[in-house]
Amino acid sequence: MLQVKNLVKNYGSVMVLKGINFSIGAGTVFGFLGPNGAGKSTTMNVLTGLIDFQDGQVLIDGLDLRKNKDALRQRIGYLPENPVYYGYMNAPEYLRMIGDLSCYPQKEISKRIDELLELVQLTDVTRRRIGKYSRGMKQRLGLAVALFNHPQYLFLDEPTSALDPQGRMDMLNLVEQLKNLEITVFLSTHILADVERVCDRVSILHQGEIRLTEDMNELRQKFIQPIFDLEVTGQLDAILTKFSGLDWVQDVKVEDSQLSVYVSDPEMAKYKLPEVIADFNLGLVSYKIRQITLEDIFVRMVKI
């Protein structure tokens, strides 16, 4: 269980995190969304104990992060946005160092290195110095580093950003496997399709504030529901007044002759909406039911 309470982080006079709250249950894959500069990486750096914060509290398994840094770091794996290595080492040398640093059982280090290099598919380049790796290869190696000591909490900051399509699929498959191992994954990304695929719960962060935190299932029910897109000719005023009086219509957005009708009960709307249109003597140019996506929610949340 990871709990973040009223977390505030300042860089100089700039408040980057303005008191954010959320909690993540064990074994959850938590998607952390937000536009560039929202504060995703900053949050991750705080949660992994790498930078301090000004106010609030972070609890991991009920332990205060500030007071139990050493103990908690043993349970955390972090793949930062831009992983940095000692470039003159090769991957096995670096992983061996990580093994020592995380106090991994001495005798099992070699086995673990082979296992991980296999997992992230870097077995062909074990002799090459990491400084000569491509960005995607560095990201793969970063995953191996993050996973080294079997962490219970895994923080992945845009883990698929430099990967080729195959690498991206592999990474997502892996995250799904981790779910079965009861590992809690905290995943920040811009790629909404990835979130929809693997996440159980999402948060949208914007300008240092959490705009929404929701279980994916509930999100699908609550937000991910159809919108009725209508294109009509004629006077719109009357019908808009009518819509605002109907309790099954949540919201109507107008753009020229385009109407987007958000409804609370899509099943009912399928029957009622054509009736309403017919009542107003309007020309119906097109009538489409659009499935709202996470992308729409994202755009809506970060616009406000």
Binding site: G49, L50, I51, M89, M97, I98
Partner: protein, 254 residues
């Protein structure tokens, strides 16, 4: 201490692959040989350019030749050590190299001590080799009272302790900046100021630079004075390294 072991190994790999051993070895060993040779050739080169009566000042004995080597490795050695070690911690912080190690729970004591002990041992070894070679060469090249290996090795030891202090100073300043050059400049400045401070009465005994002066005594060294210098300098080194560890526990690595 697994962090210590990991970082000690890392420093060996790094020093080897980044040619740091080579640079440091040249700093201490090349001059151990080249220095007496230059002194020897100097009069021959200058023969036609300076008056004959000046020539007698160009005749050195082994003791003077060793003193000349010590003067050079005080200046050049410091420069070489500072040039190659100024980024000793600041590079790690500035380039975010510590993100993975810290996220794995590495101990800052281990990191700082691994670095200080690794480079202290490296310099101790190179300085002793340098002094042995230098002793051999000065005795071979110059006429006069022979310099004993025991005397020069003892001086070498004092030098090594002086450099342990320089390393500790570099560690501390380097941990407070993200640019190695800044740390390097501060330590270099300190090195220039120290001989000036040395002239202030009562202060001399307490300065690490006193070790360099003591080393210059060779056979005439008074061990009781030397011991005081050794102990105070080592004490400074311990304090500096403790401060570095304290700093490294708080530093933000990203």
């Amino acid at each position: 201490m697994r962090t210590f072991k990991a970082y000690f190994k890392k420093e060996i790999i790094e020093s080897w692959r980044q040619y740091r051993y080579l640079v440091l070895a040249v700093g201490f060993i090349f001059f151990a040989i080249a220095d007496p040779l230059m002194l020897k050739i100097l009069p021959t080169i200058l023969k036609n350019q300076i008056p004959a009566e000046m020539m007698q000042f160009m005749q050195f004995d082994p003791v003077q030749a060793v003193a000349n080597y010590m003067k050079d490795i005080y200046q050049l050695g410091n420069l070489f050590v500072i040039l190659s070690l100024m980024g000793i911690i600041s590079d790690e912080i500035g380039q975010e190299k510590l993100v993975f190690p810290y996220s794995k729970g590495s101990k800052s004591e281990g990191i700082v001590l691994a670095k200080s002990i690794h480079y202290s041992l490296t310099l101790l070894f190179l300085i002793l080799v340098g002094f042995i070679l230098n002793t051999y060469y000065v005795n071979l090249l110059f006429e006069g009272v022979i310099v004993g290996y025991a005397d020069t090795l003892r001086s070498g030891l004092l030098f090594a302790i002086y450099y342990i202090f320089t390393i500790s100073l570099l560690l501390l300043f380097s941990s407070f900046t993200r640019k190695g050059l800044v740390a390097g400049m501060i330590v270099l400045l300190f090195n220039y100021i120290e001989p000036v401070l040395y002239n202030i009465k009562g202060l001399a005994d307490w300065l690490p630079y006193n070790l360099v002066r003591q080393a210059n005594m060779l056979g005439d060294l008074n061990m009781s004075i030397a011991w005081k210098s050794i102990l105070t300098t080592l004490l400074y080194a311990i304090i500096l390294q403790a401060l570095t560890i304290w700093r490294m526990k708080r530093v933000e690595v990203i």
